[in-house]
Amino acid sequence: MISVAVSFLISPFRAVASLLLFSLFCSISFGASERNARVVFSELILAEKLDQQVLLQELSNYGDPAIANIYEAWRTGGIFILTDADAVRLLQFTDEQWSLVATGEAVTLSEVEVEVAEKTRASRSVRKQMKGLLDTLGLKADDPNVRINSAIKMGRSLKPEFVPALESRLEVEAADEVRAAIREALAISLLENGDAAEKLASVEELAELKSVASRGFIEKVLEAEVTAGRAESPLAIASSTTLRTIAEHMNLMEFLSSFFRGFSTGSVLLIVSFGLAITFGLMGIINMAHGEFVAIGGYTTYMVQTFFINTWGLSSEAFGWYFVISLPLSFLVAAGFGLVLEKSIIRFLYRRPLESLLCTWGISMVMQQCFRLIFGAANVQVNNPTWLMGNLSFGGFNMSYTRLFIMFIALVVVLLTWLLLRKTNLGLHIRAVMQNRGMASSLGIPVARVNSMTFALGCGLAALGGSVLSQIGNVGPLMGQQYIVDSFMVVVIGSVGNLLGAGLSAMGIGLVDQLLQPALGPVMGKITVFFVIILFLQWRPGGLFPARSRSLDD
């Protein structure tokens, strides 16, 4: 009451005006079909202290992020009341920009209007209540992920004052994942604040939820029980059982995600090594510059992205399309380069596989340095399009869209390559040349052209791999180098010239690599894979599917 009286004394006009305005606003907004968070907030700003309580209560039903924004402006003196002859407007001034609080529309004010606009600030009691409201704002957000994060944060803070908010949300929450997060948060909070029975119930609840986040809290409870000399109490026993359940669950998840990562690593390897399997297996050319063609793919993606950002901006709708466009473009650019390279240099080396290795290594040095001169020695930044961000969750097991997309692309690549080799004329020619160059030539197959096309195809596939890689790794002059040794392995294991073998061995190497990594670390994992490969070749020297031939190879 005192504050109202004080405010009357300081500015009687303002108090009267706000009273009038309040009724005016009420009549307008009540007349409108829908009351939203902005309207309620406007009323709150203009309301009397007594009415504020009701309005705050009402405001707490909304999860609009605008509430936080407006409140921040209000607290820091960015909310103004502008009284015109015919209307009263509530305005927000943030970032040098005026907007209407009630609708969020941007408006421009004349200089006179700016001068007569009166600043308003939140009172202390409102500030105090708003704080609690803002803390639980995330629980009511439209985005379920925001709700989940907010619930987890509230649970971890262990503050008892959040419990009512969480409980009331649990009653109305419809989404299962959010419900689980709220239950988890409540249980964690009760572990700290509840009595013995509540603690026991929480621990059991957490076991049911397989809550990884709660491990530390349960351990604390268990420790407290043990130090209190109650190591055999039901709570202690339940705690250790829960911890074990959670640990088992984590192991399973770890295994599943290694498996998933293995498949996606294998997919990248597959795309990269398919190109190699074609140039190396079908043509007998060891293309040491294959890694640089991977980098061409990465850089093409980078350039397409830069073009999109410069033309439409990073946050535009159009930006999402850049990756879709850069995939085929990378293929075409690299295939073009490959074609030129084949015509100018590679075609002289078909009978000298070991020398092709040296020559293409020289080419790879030249290309690497060209990348450095054009794009700089440091890695360049390639952003994920928004539609590839996020995860597909599956019972607590997350699969990122990027990696799922990579698997999809790998599948498409396998399918298209198979169709090309089996169902088209070019494929028929490629296979004929691969089986017997001289015989194919004498049967009228244009061997030189087939060679060019095959080499271009292999380079294009490498670049496709590079484009895909840009989404999960770095794009730089040396980006292809780290895959080149693995890719050669894939080709050797999968039997040279056999695409099915290459596919299987890529997946196999990817899986073994990722499954070994948690236990051995990345380096020892790689080394183990290498020795496994050497031993595998003792058993099957020709790879998975050795070509059958009665001819001797020299």
Binding site: F280, G362, V492, D554
Partner: protein, 377 residues
Amino acid sequence: MIKFKNVYTMLSTETKKEAGIFCIVAALLMLIPGLNAWGPESGLLSVSSFQVSLWGKYLTYAILAMSLNLLWGYTGLLCLCQSLFFALGGYAMGMYLMLAIGDASGAERALPDFMVFMGYQDLPSHWKPFDSFWFASGAVLWVPGLVALIFGILAFRSRIKGVYFSILTQALTYAVCLLFFRNDFTFGGNNGFTDFKEILGHSINDPSTTRWLYIGSALLLLFTYLITSGLLASKLGKVQQAIRDSENRVLFSGYSTTSFKLVIFTLSAMIAGAAGALYVPQVGGINPSLMETGKSLEVVVWVAVGGRGTKWGPVIGAILVNLFKSYTTQAFPDYWLIMMGGMFVFVVLVMPNGIVGVYQQVKASIAQKRSLQTAEA
């Protein structure tokens, strides 16, 4: 004296020519330390200690190239782990040199610096014997030899040859290189070994030490040449070259190509290891980047540029390519990779027999032109 004369007349002109070249090369090699020790202080004929160790480094490269030539030039095995053997030899010698630092400072078996940083209390047991120079010198030979033997048995037994052999050896290099980059592998991780103080009680920066290391490299080079020549003249060498030309025919003739290849592979690894051991004290350090996959390919390029399957080609190639490299890295820091790469492409396309083969190539093409002209006339 009479006996010697008899032997001399028994030699063919070819052998006499080779012996002559050998003597000229030996004399040229000894010119550098000679001028360094007794030559003028300045002027055209003065040779600084820096230049002595630089040329010493080139000589170790040349030996490395010769060891690869033994495999690639004469046996047809394109091995991409030659720099690995080189580095293994280097590491073995480096271990001795690291421990010698402690001796120099007078401490009782001081730990190398990087071990102190890693928190080691005591020297790991596999380091202890390297306190002795002679043990280290032995390890320089048997460590690369053993690695080659084991890998060779696995590879040759399952008839891995040609390109597949190259790829597998490259993967081996890659795997071991990753291993040496690890800090907990007790070999200094990323930084490797450096800051050597003395070798066999002599300061490593002393001009006379530099000279002796150079002379050691030159002698090893000449020795390697003699081994190569002797090998080529022997039955082993004949089988070796037959394997290069047609392995299946050798196999069908009843020779076990596996064991022949194994012997050559192991021998070549040991030579590379010895070269590495001489390289490390002259360069003053070693780190795992020496065994990166690219380094092995560089060695292949030296051999290709000089001329594979020739006795002096690899030496010429190694020295010329490295001179070219050190010139271009200074003169064109932005473009030297492009120039080097371009040179490889050029050599492979235009000079398949290397520099040594250019003379033959030109002679052959002139002869061909002449015969065409006479045919037209």
